[in-house]
């Protein structure tokens, strides 16, 4: 009995073991799947995808079959029209052979255009591309307001079709640029403009990818009628906070459409609103009959809606939701951008503003309307360094391309210009990093490495040489005159590659042997126009990155030159010079004032003795409008102020003053030859006027103050002069 029991027990135990074993095997089977199923290796050799290892054209049979390239281009140009327009087929490049000039049609008599469109037209007319000659024009801008094509809108212009057809140079819209902000109307908001644009380029806000003709149309941002004409409001960010996360994670405040197109996304926002760090407020109030459609959530939401201030939300949130409204783009986009609130885009199919050139992944989170519920986790997963980078990029983009109507229009024009000569265009690095594409002219170079802005991002540094450019206005008479001394001192610098003398004197050129003999070559260029601006002309002979601009009466020692060049090497995008000046706001006259007094701060350094990058010569000559250049030439004054304006506008930084011997200042201010323009009593008043005209053209005051000066490390230190590298600077 006992034995039986034992047998039974043991057998049972064995069975249990077996069952456990079997179960273990079964459980193990999915484990086998950890070994992934791989693509097998084949035993037979496989044939190559190209038959005979060659491409189709090599076969002599086919050689004559494909059509002549010229014929094919013609066929193509006829097929791809209207909706399938591309620059190749719908744009007449021949019109642009004499440069990229834009013509604005005169306004039809008795017609008024909207405020926004007037700003656009003004921006075009103020730009350096503008021409009043139809025959010079490469691009045409309509005088008919096409911004608002919503038939229910008060701004809607009727009979556009007829008006356009009557234009003598319309030519089915070829080489025309049409601006539009709103299109279509309730209920479906199609992107119908109500007239046929033919082969015209469309610069449109809220454009859908489906309607967007790539590399032909331009997507522009939606801007309000209060948007600045020029200059524009500054970005909100004044300092980089760390940790960069703000009080709220994600905010939105806006209308909610209860029915119809574009209502789904905003209606669903309440799912992710949590009232703590995600504040998404919507109101049902819009239109007259909103109460008819109102749902159960409306009253509670309306109440909460009024509790929060929109600006307060924008400035205290890391991310801002930009969901589509009726149309794909909304005002929320630019508002968020300016507020340094990283936009989270929920607008499927929206061709983002200036998408052709702007890398939006560096400044925004591009979401998917279908994945609304993932938005909180996506935004939470963005780490601090990325937030810091995204936020700074919003500010850079805002300031570079969006803060004013002029910038939006100029960006549009530059994009089109880049397409016309594709081999002379900016690359993505130039568009997407400081100082932005508008200040980077590809006609100077298409190579980022020769601009002063990208040295560190390309891992390069400026060259170790400079070119001295001396402006000579008095005849060469003695070997003791300042010009000769200056040439000798500068030539002694081991960094000096060459000296260029710009002969802006009425007297004829002195003979070659009159010039002092130096180790570096001296090139004398006789100015044709002998104007003030010509000293900044980008002469081809200047090959070094650095330029040392000098007046003939500047007094500099070799030591000073060497030291300033060293300093410039650390700040290649700024002006590094000796004598400095300052600007201030004269509130009694409500205008800008100029002072040459010794002050505790400065905002300009005189270009009578300064280092800067040679690109600024190009920018000065080709970026600034003729109106300012002629003003400078007429007065023979202010060219240095204008250069300081330009460089500070580009860099958003003050210039750098280095130390100088005291006697230098004295020669500049009092002594000097009779022709010295500093002695002119009108001189000072003119400079005051210049300041105000320049800031008027720029649309803002680019100058910034600095309170420091850079001296050699051991300057005036109580240590033997023999230890000091720059001894001459110490000696008075």
């Amino acid at each position: 009995m006992q034995a039986k029991k034992r047998y039974l027990l043991v057998s049972l135990g064995a069975c249990l073991l077996l069952v456990a074993y079997l179960w273990g095997l079964v459980a193990q089977r999915p484990g086998l799947r950890l070994h992934r199923q791989h693509w097998p290796e084949w035993t037979h050799p496989l044939s190559p995808y190209l038959e005979d290892g060659e491409q189709e054209q090599d076969s002599p049979l086919l050689h004559h079959q494909h059509t002549s390239p010229r014929e094919r281009r013609e066929i193509r140009n006829n097929i791809y029209k209207s909706r399938r327009c591309r620059m190749d087929t719908c744009f007449d490049f021949r019109r642009c052979q004499r440069g990229f000039k834009v013509y604005v049609y005169p306004l039809p008599k008795g017609e008024k255009v909207s405020e926004s469109y007037q700003k656009i037209l003004t921006a075009v007319e103020d730009s350096r591309f503008h021409t009043t000659d139809v025959n010079q024009a490469c691009l045409f801008v309509l005088g008919i307001d096409t911004l608002d094509r919503d038939q229910l809108s008060g701004q809607y212009v009727h009979n556009v079709k007829a008006k356009i057809q009557s234009l003598p140079t319309w030519n089915d819209g070829r080489n025309h640029l049409i601006f539009n902000l709103y299109s279509g109307t309730w209920p479906d908001y199609t992107e119908e403009l109500g007239f046929d644009i033919g082969q015209a380029i469309l610069a449109k806000a809220s454009i859908d990818m489906d309607n967007f003709r790539p590399h032909f149309d331009v997507s522009i941002p939606l801007f309000s009628k209060d948007h600045s004409q020029k200059g524009g409001d500054k970005g909100y960010l004044t300092l980089n906070n760390v940790p960069p996360s703000r009080k709220y994670l994600l905010v939105f405040k806006g209308k909610r459409y209860l029915t119809g197109i574009g209502s789904e996304t905003r209606n669903a926002l309440y799912h992710i609103h949590n009232g703590e760090d995600i504040i998404l407020l919507t109101t049902c109030k819009h239109g007259k009959d909103w109460e008819k459609h109102k749902d159960t959530r409306c009253d509670r939401e309306n109440e909460e809606y009024s509790k929060f201030d929109y600006q307060e939300l924008l400035h205290n949130s890391s991310f801002c939701l930009v969901p589509r409204g009726r149309r794909l783009g909304s005002f929320r986009f630019l508002e968020a951008l300016q507020a340094a609130c990283i936009p989270v885009l929920l607008s499927n199919g929206w061709e983002l503003p200036f998408s052709e050139i702007i890398d939006w992944s560096k400044a925004a989170i591009i979401g998917d309307e279908r994945l609304l519920l993932q938005v909180p986790s996506i935004t939470r997963s963005v780490d601090h360094d990325k937030i810091l980078a995204l936020r700074q990029q919003t500010q850079f983009l805002w300031d570079a391309y969006f803060s004013s109507v002029a910038k939006i229009v100029l960006t549009t024009l530059e994009i089109i210009q880049d397409r016309i000569n594709s081999h002379i265009s900016r690359n993505k690095l130039m568009w997407n990093s400081l100082p932005g594409g508008l200040y980077v002219l590809p006609q100077f170079s298409t190579d980022a490495a020769v601009f002063p802005f990208y040295y560190s991002s390309l891992g390069k540094s400026p060259s170790q040489e400079f070119t001295a450019v001396i402006q000579a206005v008095t005849p060469l008479q003695s070997q003791l005159q300042p010009l000769v001394k200056l040439i000798i001192a500068v030539a002694k610098s081991k960094f000096c590659a060459q000296i260029i003398v710009l002969w802006n004197c009425d007297k004829p050129l002195p003979s070659k042997n009159k010039w002092p003999s130096t180790a570096v070559p001296i090139t004398v260029i006789e100015g044709e126009r002998k104007t003030m601006s010509s000293r900044f002309f980008p002469h081809d002979v200047i090959l070094t990155d650095a330029v040392l601009s000098l007046d003939e009466d500047s007094v500099l020692s070799t030591n000073e030159v060497d030291f300033a060049f060293f300093v410039w090497h650390s700040f290649p995008d700024r002006i590094v010079g000796y004598p400095a000046r300052s600007h201030y706001w004269d509130s009694s006259k409500s205008r800008w004032g100029y002072t040459s007094k010794w002050t505790n701060e400065y905002s300009m350094v005189l270009t009578g003795a300064a280092f800067y990058h040679r690109y600024y010569h190009y920018l000065y000559t080709h970026y600034l409008p003729p109106s300012l250049l002629t003003m400078v030439d007429r007065m023979s004054n202010c060219e240095d102020i204008l250069m300081n304006f330009l460089v500070s506008a580009v860099t958003k930084l003050p210039p750098i003053k280095v130390t100088q011997k005291k006697q230098y200042k004295e020669t500049m201010m009092q002594q000097g030859s009779k022709t010295s323009r500093w002695a002119d009593p009108d001189h000072f008043a003119q400079r005051q006027t210049c300041m105000n005209s320049f800031s008027g053209w720029f649309g803002f005051m680019p100058l910034l103050h600095s309170q420091m000066r850079l001296d050699p490390v051991l300057f005036k230190d109580q240590v033997s002069i023999l230890r000091k590298k720059y001894r001459d600077i110490e000696r008075l």
């Binding site: 799947r33 199923q37 193509r76 004044t238 980089n240 993932q374 997963s381 500010q395 170079s445």
Partner: protein
């Protein structure tokens, strides 16, 4: 970064120990076992033996049952077994089998792609499924493709299956890749191939399916996208034109050149080449050839126009030779002899020549109107090629001549990098295409422009400062002074009193680094106008000075030692003003220098009166609070622990960190003065001696090796107030009291 490593070692160690312990335990167990058996009776023993054998047999049987029927399949499943293509299952397509619709030109990711299949995952990686190979034949048994699976497509599929995109679980897949080879449309029967696609079990209108095609269209009109009807499938195509390419949906890929597998072209240093322009394509239309000949006449030797060799027999060898008037050149080697290489469109827009040209480091001059360049969604071709409209072919020479040498070299480097990274093999092409699609699905985790476009040389040497926006912060928030102290209370109180006179001081934080002694009572502290907080630390570590305390509410931090009593209020305020102009730099008072010691062949620390500066001591320095985070959480290697262990060099470490991430030198402000002993905090009381200097030199060498480079930048300037030492009434100067000893 050292932490995981050291953690890994300790983990291994414990694992080893427990394993060892288990070994011992099991040893004990077995030693007890045998005692049981001899006591059993024979009858029982027979029973046990039979039971044991029954169980054993059962086990074997179940084992056989479990494994045997699967053994063939399972080995094929997970091992790299060799199989014959001819063994792939045969699928017969009925004539009436449905045909997909032609590709929808309006497809976009948000309309034709099911993003829900991809899901949200922390790795932000899509999963790709590859259909098993099948041989499709029509009703009469003729295969749908003349070549079947090509070598290249096979390479592509096995590359995908080896990558981390791959999944064999069809239910988890986000993207499906058919094993039907459509690389070359010439070898396909269009209708049948389309039917085969529609037969795929998960086809579902082509949703989330990806087709790879390199040679689209066929004679006579050569369409620019695959003609096979494919519903909503994504197309990775070579030779798209702007009218067939669905931007943001399709992927433009290069036409793979089989030559690149055979020919090894060593990378050539960028620089001038023997020829200026080279044309090596053989089947150029005679109109183009005439224009090229004309260019050659005008510019002579600078141009080399090659054509097929007429005297050579057809075959693989002829693909490797090019001729010019009887002169024979090796192809593609000859491409390395030219600065620019012409890539003209043929009947198709995409040309395999482009790949050869890139491999040779020759800059492609692309004349193919409306062509969508390979991977143009992410690659910036302006940095690696010159695109010229076909009509401007006669102007080609002038256009290319206008490009400066420096830029040519830059572009040469860029072309080779593009080839290495994205063109060199079918694997590279396939991975790039998947990477692009992956970036679209997880745009917030996408690779950046720099990652895609910067060659390794540039990536290594370039610096993109995290604080890149040029901002001059407002003066008003002021700065927070952080005083690190141990027990020098008298000196500390003097420092506090001095600093409290600085107008922009917002808060004073005392980091009490002495665990054995409590800070003095509140009533004993100097009374100052701004809040004063004392933080007590858990350990006496130097890194405590750089900890991002919540108490620091301003962006500007002044790190100051408890014995720096010689700085005047003017000097400190001026330092803050300078920091505002350079918020991304260290702005400090005593400056130091690193030098290369040629005799010893290593770096040396220098604190003498030098004309140069590459570091500022953090015994008195302003910096952005951001660097506290970097120091505490992102310091590379074991530097942080090393500093804490040696109680020295925290300032050198901070200088390395800031210079490395910003690429900028620190700024030394105001003239040198007699600092009592700014470097003595570490060795407490000891005077500046030789061992100390040796140790700091060691620090520099250690840090340079951890960073893998010497990030410090040497400058020869320091910042002084504009009117410093100028002959000007002192009382009108903003900062008169500078440099007093």
């Amino acid at each position: 970064m050292s932490c995981p490593q050291s953690l890994g070692i300790t983990l291994n160690h414990t694992r080893y120990r427990s394993f060892y312990a288990r070994m011992c335990a099991s040893g004990k167990y077995t030693s007890r076992g045998p005692a049981l058996i001899p006591r059993m009776k024979t009858k029982h023993r027979i029973y046990y033996i039979t039971l044991f054998s029954v169980v054993l047999l059962g086990l074997i049987a179940t084992g056989m049952f479990q494994f045997w029927p699967h053994s063939i399949e399972s080995t094929a499943e997970w091992s790299l077994d060799r199989r014959s293509v001819h063994d792939a299952p045969l699928v017969r397509l009925p004539v009436s089998s449905p045909i997909p619709e032609r590709g929808d030109l309006s497809c976009r990711m948000h309309t034709c792609f099911d993003v829900y299949r991809c899901g949200y995952n922390p790795k932000n990686r899509i999963k790709v499924y590859i259909y098993p190979l099948q041989r499709f034949v029509d009703e009469v048994g003729v295969p749908i493709s003349s070549t079947g699976l090509s070598r290249e497509y096979n390479d592509l599929l096995s590359a995908i299956s080896d990558s981390d995109f791959y999944t064999d679980d069809v239910t988890r897949a986000c993207l499906f890749v058919p094993s039907i080879d459509v690389l070359n449309q010439n070898s396909l029967r269009i209708r049948e191939t389309a039917q085969a696609l529609a037969m795929l079990p998960r086809w579902d209108k082509g949703m989330n399916h990806l087709l790879f095609n390199m040679l689209p269209g066929g004679p006579p009109d050569y369409s620019t996208a695959l003609d096979v009807p494919r519903d909503r499938a994504l197309l990775a195509g070579g030779g798209f034109s702007t009218w067939t390419y669905r931007q943001g949906y399709d992927v433009s890929i290069p036409v793979y050149s089989p030559l690149s597998a055979d020919v090894e072209l060593p990378e050539k240093q960028p620089g001038p080449r023997r020829y200026f322009i080279l044309s090596s394509q053989t089947a150029i239309h005679r109109e183009y050839r005439a224009e090229l000949e004309r260019l050659k006449e005008e510019n002579g030797e600078a141009l080399l126009l090659l054509d097929k060799c007429s005297n050579l027999s057809q075959g693989a060898a002829s693909a490797r030779k090019r001729c010019y008037k009887g002169q024979v050149f090796d192809y593609p080697q000859i491409l390395q002899e030219s600065s620019f290489c012409v890539v003209l469109r043929g009947a198709r827009l995409g040309q395999a020549t482009l790949s050869d040209v890139l491999q040779a480091g020759c800059i492609p001059v692309i004349l193919a109107d409306s062509y969508i360049l390979p991977f143009s969604e992410v690659l910036d071709w302006k940095r690696a090629s010159v695109v010229i409209p076909e009509e401007k072919l006669p102007e080609m020479y002038t256009i290319l001549k206008s490009i400066p040498h420096r830029q040519v070299e830059e572009m040469q480097r860029q072309t080779r990098w593009f080839w290495d990274a994205y063109f060199s093999s079918m694997k590279a092409i396939g991975m790039t295409a998947l990477e692009i699609i992956n970036d679209r699905i997880y745009p917030y985790a996408a690779r950046t422009y720099e990652q895609w476009n910067n060659p390794p040389v540039v990536k290594w040497s370039s610096v993109n400062s995290p604080l890149f926006l040029p901002l001059i912060p407002p003066r008003s928030p002021g700065f927070t002074a952080v005083v690190l102290t141990y027990d020098r209370i008298e000196s500390l109180f003097r420092v506090i009193t001095e600093i409290s006179k600085v107008p922009s001081l917002a808060k004073l934080l005392v980091v009490w680094n002495n665990q054995n002694k409590s800070p003095p009572e509140e009533s004993l502290w100097p009374k100052i106008a701004v809040p004063l907080k004392v933080v007590r630390t858990k350990e006496n570590k130097l890194s405590n000075r750089f900890f991002p305390y919540d108490e620091i509410e301003t962006e500007a931090v002044l790190a100051i030692d408890d014995d720096i009593i010689m700085l005047t209020s003017d000097e400190l305020q001026f330092g803050y003003e300078v920091w505002r102009e350079f918020p991304d730099r260290l702005v400090g008072y005593p400056g130091r220098l690193h030098l290369w010691d040629h005799e010893m062949g290593k770096w040396k620390y220098e604190s003498e009166w030098t004309n140069e500066v590459s570091m500022v001591l953090t015994g008195a320095a302003f910096y952005h609070k951001y660097f506290n985070y970097l120091y505490t959480y992102k310091m590379p290697g074991d530097i942080k622990n090393w500093v804490d262990a040696h109680m020295n060099c925290e300032d050198i470490a901070m200088n390395f960190l800031v210079a490395n991430i910003t690429g900028k030198a620190p700024i030394k402000v105001t003239p040198r003065k007699k600092f009592k002993c700014p470097e003595c905090t570490a060795i407490d009381g000891l005077s500046l001696d030789q061992t100390h200097m040796v140790e700091r030199s060691e620090c520099i060498n250690k840090f340079a090796s951890v960073f893998g480079t010497m990030p410090l930048k040497v400058v020869e300037h320091r910042a002084d107030p504009v009117l410093y030492k100028d002959d000007f009434p002192e009382k009108l100067k903003s900062f008169p009291n500078i440099g007093s000893l």
